[in-house]
């Protein structure tokens, strides 16, 4: 990627007032990018935590600012909330001597397919892939159809690679439902990867209950414990459950790719 040592980076996460792990992946990826020394400065900002989207630009000292939403898909936050709070007018905003470049959400990056494959292999390193179903789990909601589309397009891209016996998307709140995994998959091994940015109530509790690997939504002593008991033996099948894809260390590279794609789309093209 081109030299960005004179540029600033703002990673925007959702954050939470209840779940301390919600902002962790955003900080984790920011720390990794800081370690690589690629930008003059790197900040995180959140809708539900501090610094808020209203405050963060007062922290940024550079004039060339990339804003990358650490969100899994386009939707209400990337289209309405973030532009509104940062007072953006489009992909490029000029304000008070700064140029603010608003990138796509990280979940849009083509490299997400590689990350999902990597995470699935990590969760189930020894399963024969020709006898394994891969399930990409998204939230899915009637409020945001793009949330479901994101998981669907990842599943389609992985399916086309022909690596796993079968690849499906499943959702918590719309069909095909996670809870129907037994009838929707046919292989003796099933690997489940949540297509979420952070681990939280959905990946710790809701999805395990829907899968049938936890009986009730209780707070475990260590919430990470649910990812360490693989495989789960259910109805003669082996189920492997991975943590949220957004916690994958390679997400730092996805963020950098997202910036690179922004430049190619909005800067180099218009300069040509």
């Amino acid at each position: 990627m081109p030299n960005k040592r004179k540029s600033s980076l703002v990673l925007v996460g959702h954050g939470s007032t209840l779940n301390p792990d919600s902002s962790a992946p955003t900080f984790q990826h920011a720390d990794e990018i800081v370690r690589r020394g690629l930008f003059a400065e790197v900040y995180c900002s959140f809708w539900k935590e501090e610094p808020s989207l209203r405050e963060v630009l007062q922290m940024v000292e550079g004039d060339d600012v990339y804003v990358v939403p650490n969100f899994i898909s386009e939707g209400y936050f990337t289209e309405i909330v973030i532009p509104r709070e940062l007072e953006l007018v489009g992909p490029i905003t000029h304000r008070s001597g700064k140029i603010i470049k608003y990138c796509e959400p990280v979940g849009n990056d083509p490299r997400m397919v590689d990350l999902l494959l990597h995470r699935a292999r990590e969760a189930a390193p020894k399963v024969p892939l020709e006898k394994t179903s891969l399930l990409i789990v998204g939230h899915g909601t009637s409020l945001n159809e793009k949330s479901a589309e994101a998981a669907q397009s990842q599943a389609r891209a992985i399916r086309e690679k022909g690596i796993y016996a079968e690849v499906f998307e499943a959702y918590m709140e719309e069909a095909p439902f996670v809870a129907d995994w037994r009838k929707n998959t046919s292989q003796p091994n099933v690997v489940v990867v949540p297509f979420f940015i952070a681990d939280g109530l959905h990946s710790y509790q809701d999805i395990p209950v829907l899968l049938g690997i936890e009986s009730a939504p209780t707070v475990a002593a260590s919430q990470q414990e649910v990812f360490r008991r693989n495989p789960y033996r259910l109805d003669g099948r082996a189920l492997y459950y991975a943590s949220a894809i957004g916690t994958e260390p390679l997400m730092a590279d996805v963020i950098l790719d997202t910036i690179d794609r922004f430049d190619r789309k909005h800067l180099y093209d218009s300069a040509a």
């Binding site: 939470s16 007032t17 209840l18 779940n19 301390p20 900080f27 720390d31 809708w47 539900k48 935590e49 501090e50 610094p51 808020s52 209203r54 405050e55 963060v56 007062q58 922290m59 000292e61 209400y76 309405i80 909330v81 509104r84 008070s96």
Partner: protein, 211 residues
């Protein structure tokens, strides 16, 4: 640069922000909880920005601290940092944006945004907060933002534009007042606009009043 401004402010005698105090040392700077001022030899020593972030994340009982301005930072630690840039980043981990906001405000680059303006631009689940009455708003802010138990920021916005928050004690909207009540040489810790927690609390008020 903000770090240069911070170095100058320390030279001028400022040594506190919120519940924190900081000082120069032979190795750079160190940062600690003001209540540990006379117990520093008993504190556990840390060195990184990540440590600062983790300390700021939980209170002494281990409960998550979603509001960084809350006066419930845990005690018993000291962070040693090698230069003013690290000090700035550590302060930003405890009180995100506090120094940047104050400098921007001082330089006329940032201005308070009244509560009505914040609520009127809300959408989705927070749209309902547009209906908060002035009386409900005043009661809410008086309780949810109070310095003794909820948030140490100095509020500069009012309910309506061009009107100061005169429904609060005058000390709560005076940037020269140390909100911890210790009268230290504290950097102002400003609130230029209502945070999302207050907007969420406004939503709860509306839900309760509609029952």
């Amino acid at each position: 640069m903000i770090r240069d401004e911070l170095a100058r402010l320390i030279q001028d005698g400022y040594n506190a922000l919120g519940e924190l105090e900081f000082a120069e040392s032979s190795h750079g700077y160190f940062l600690y909880h003001s209540a540990d001022r006379n117990l520093l030899s008993e504190t556990r020593v840390y060195h990184s920005i990540e440590d600062a972030r983790m300390i700021a994340k939980y209170d002494s009982s281990g409960a998550y601290r979603p509001l960084k301005g809350a006066p419930n930072l845990p005690r018993g630690w000291r962070i040693e940092l090698t230069n003013v840039d690290e000090l700035k980043r550590a302060l930003d981990s405890f009180y995100p944006g506090a120094i940047g906001s104050w400098l921007a405000y001082q330089n006329g680059k940032a201005h308070p945004v009244c509560l009505r303006q914040t609520l009127n631009r809300q959408t989705g689940m927070y749209r309902v907060t547009r209906k908060l009455t002035d009386e409900q708003a005043q009661n809410l802010v008086q309780e949810a933002c109070r310095s003794d138990s909820r948030c140490l920021r100095t509020i500069l916005w009012g309910i309506e534009d061009s009107r100061p928050p005169d429904f609060l004690p005058s000390s709560k909207f005076d940037p020269t007042v140390d909100q911890t009540g210790q009268q230290r040489a504290a950097l102002p810790f400003l609130c230029l606009e209502a945070c999302n927690l207050l907007v969420a609390a406004a939503r709860n008020t509306m839900k309760k009043s509609s029952r």
